[in-house]
Amino acid sequence: MAEPLETVAALRRALDAGATTSAELVERALARADALQPRLGAFVGLRAAGARREAAEADAQRGRREARSALHGIPVALKDNIAQAGEPCGCASRVLEGYVSPFDATLVERLRAVGAVVIGRTNMDEFAMGSSTEHSRHGPTRNPWDLARSPGGSSGGSAAAVAAGIVPLAFGSDTGGSIRQPAAFTGIVGLKPGYGRVSRYGLVAFASSLDQIGPLARTAEDCADALDAISGHDPRDSTSLREPPTRTREALGGDVAGLVVGLPREYLGGDGCDPEVARAVEEAARELEKAGVTLRECSLPHTRHAVATYYLICTAEASSNLARFDGVRYGRRAEGAAGLTEMYERSRSEGFGREVKRRILLGTYVLSAGYYDAYYRKAQQVRALLRRDFEEAFASCDALLTPTTPEIAFALGERTGDPLRMYLSDVYTVSVNLAGVPAVSLPCGFSRGLPIGLQLIGRAGSDATPLRLADAFQRRTDHHLCRPELPA
């Protein structure tokens, strides 16, 4: 099988040295994707012809000394909910079967501008609703570390693609943990930028006030390069921060001594967490302490309300965002409907999977007359309290350190019958989206052969600090260098 593609940084050095070409890298990526697809199910489609064309163009540009970006000529993968012109955009849903996007997401425009090459689209939970990549019309994606286990979700396909060395960099979306949790389960780095940092134009909306696009890669360094390439104000997204692209890469590699890292007691005490996960995270904290970081206990008192708050807000927004999937202008339309109502009901009911239906119903209920105040309005108020918790913690801390998940990757099929249990496992990630702050997950150890993820959370506006800390951690440890055993 084709050699794994390791990191963006290493590949870039090889390209710069002339030791390889973008065309070669793309061929390797495509070959590896094909070879591993039966086992992993990471992709929903590959775009070999387009990728080869773009790789050739990238090589030509490099020849003319026009290759400026760290991502230039690098093969990458996109989650199936990011629009790319001329490509199917399915969100792993039957409701969008046959739909080909006529426009590019801003993310794709920016990737194109820096010369990155999209080789294909990765599997996900339908409409990003799920934490296991089992709720997909294409079937599940499997965890490269243990094919009987979930890679997490909803960006499980992107995580598996990176963890299995198919591409060094992939993009996903994170609404309640959908980049960070799969990164934790698969032993890679996943970044959810601060809200508004990366344009949402072209990301199929799940929950508009929570969604963010972000990179998945092996190192914090690669994620920093990716963020710098894709961030920055976009006039087409009204919620986009009015700031230029980040320069997080140049903040890395230096000293982290003197930074204050908070340990929120609600995340680290208690018996909600697998003890091996808790231990690995505590060791990671001590490792940072050795690097000169000051650890401090802190509190995010409203944490226990986070999951309920999250599920009321995200389902409400989703119920409205998914109303456009009605069979009128695109996507699946049920055959032979007698009238409009039947057309709507059957197209949507036959098209949406069970989890999506559940969330649409919940969200519709939460917004409906008589319940809006008790549920939706109340949840938004609690959200404001959660945001204040973070602001107060960040008054005395530069970053917060927590486990990414309370447990390691669970078995496929284990959770699908118990939605509430599935929701509760998002407890460490959802507050971050509710508060709109940046957070990164990186590998910090293993339990029973499966990766454990460490989460570093930054204050609003500071995507660099968590990346700096993650990078410093990775310079001192080698968890990120471990690889799953995949048959050759």
Binding site: P102, Y195, M343, Y365, S368, Q381, L385, L420, A435
Partner: protein, 101 residues
């Protein structure tokens, strides 16, 4: 006591234009009931003084200049249409009683 019964699920289902099978409606009612029961604890949270403000994005919606920018992708968009008549989308006839709402 269940918060959300079968009839309620069907009413919500109609609002969301979802048609639920027999067993589906009941199972969903149970799921929703469990989740809402869990969410009901929010009622006890003291939110006096908490505004419903937004996440950390900018505070005022940006304004766009009133200048036309034609989009050349109509043909591609129409290619996705399940049914069309010329450049118009075509849907089943709106029946009596199916007025908007």
């Amino acid at each position: 006591m269940s918060r959300i019964g079968r009839a309620e699920v069907e009413r919500i289902g109609h609002l969301a234009r979802l048609r639920l099978e027999e067993g589906e409606a009941e199972a969903l009612a149970r799921d929703l009931d469990a989740i809402l029961g869990y969410a009901a604890e929010l009622g006890a949270v003291d939110t006096a003084g908490a505004s419903e403000a937004r996440s950390g994005a900018a505070l005022a919606t940006p304004l766009r200049e009133d200048r036309p920018a034609p989009w050349p992708g109509l043909e591609q968009a129409l290619a996705n249409a399940p049914d069309a008549d010329g450049t118009a989308f075509l849907v089943p006839q709106v029946l009596e009683g199916e007025e908007e709402g």
